[in-house]
Amino acid sequence: MARTAPVSDWASDFDVLDPHYVADPFGVWDDLRATCPIAHTARRGSTWLPTRYEDVTAIAHDIGHFSSLKVAVIPMGGGDEGERQLEYGLPPISSDPPLHTWTRRLLLPWFSHQRVESYVPLTRELCRGLLDGFAGSGHADAAVDYAQQIPVRVIARILGVSSEMSDDFTGWVRDVLEFADDEARRSLGAEQLLEYFQSQLELRRRRPGDDLLSELLGTEVDGAPLDDGIVLGMAALVLIAGVDTTWSAIGSSLWHLAGHPEDQKRLGAEPALMATATEELLRAFAPVTMARVVTGDLDYGGCPMKEGDKVLMNFPAANRDPEAFDRPDAVLLDRAHNRHVAFGSGIHRCAGSNLARMELQVALEEWLHAIPSFALSEGSQVVWAGGQVRGPRVLPVVFP
């Protein structure tokens, strides 16, 4: 992976892939928020990094000046045209209205409250099966053996593709999101993912099922079937957006609980707290950062933004802003007022947020039921991934 030089000034030369920042970005955000508060870097193209809740949400709502046509946090080297390997990108996330509006409406019913409720038994069974595999052994990698295994299988079911492909899916999504700085790896991962879905589209065209891919193939807009490029982009999006993200949220939550036995006890004793607890864990460890591209030169908050610059939608930092949250760095499982933006803000609110919340809650409930008391494994190292999605990738824990 291409390594950039160490950062000496975070306000003018930040690097979201700096290993210390990936492992612990919170102090950097606090410093920037208090002094800057919108940082800039020229590494990987001119990019801005807001840190205040007010700025992040204002920019997310200003879709005229800040387009979603390029949402990758790490652009492809040599210009980010390669970011759009598909003619239509990954609608609706990498689209502006009007394409965004109607493609989003096609996806939303698949992730409605009612639909998500119907995925609960599958998710619970999946979690129990995984726990059965290691709960008796006294130790596990909570990221690899558990968190990583859950969302990918639920998404496979929704898409109507084989969950036996889960390891491949996980690998491709990591290539695209986590190893984005390694161009060869990123391109190959994207290529494999798209090839796979292309072949799945051919299968479904001949034999439709009751899955999302089949429905998209059967959908007509203005009397014409959807362009294959749009169906492919939407399918790829559902996989990419539904895997790394929720897995990271589950992993970060287990990381927090592993280090806070008092919170493990409290959640075990008061299961009714789970609803506010999952929101609080989402706030404190929001995994996702999306990018926007500046549509024309403008001054925002004293920053001379140029057309084509990127702005990183730093939802994780917004969620730690003391102007928006009381004691932002404390994880308060019963926090009652929690207007967090882990799922974004404005028209690009995560379309799968109901599903993600359900998966996180069920995963934590089942873990605590099987393993009520656990701790980080002494002497083992927790490995974090960052950039577009932040979460633990190696999380060794022990339990009696």
Partner: protein
């Protein structure tokens, strides 16, 4: 107490429905709506929580 949702602000986070399903409904597209004319006294606190947890500031009290 009466409450209303600004449909242009609502983006479907569904926090209101999660906190007070007696007061709110959410359709297949995430659009939330208020399903009571008047918030019963015993649910006023939950209505207040829904207002305080909406990331889009889409819910408000009407009148006093």
């Amino acid at each position: 107490v009466k409450i209303r949702i600004d449909p242009d602000k609502c983006q479907g986070h569904a926090r209101c429905f999660a906190l007070a399903p007696e007061l709110f409904a959410v359709d297949d597209y995430g659009q939330a709506s208020v399903i009571v004319d008047e918030v019963p006294a015993e649910l006023v606190e939950r209505a207040t929580l829904a207002i305080a947890n909406c990331p889009e500031y889409a819910i408000e009290r009407v009148g006093d």
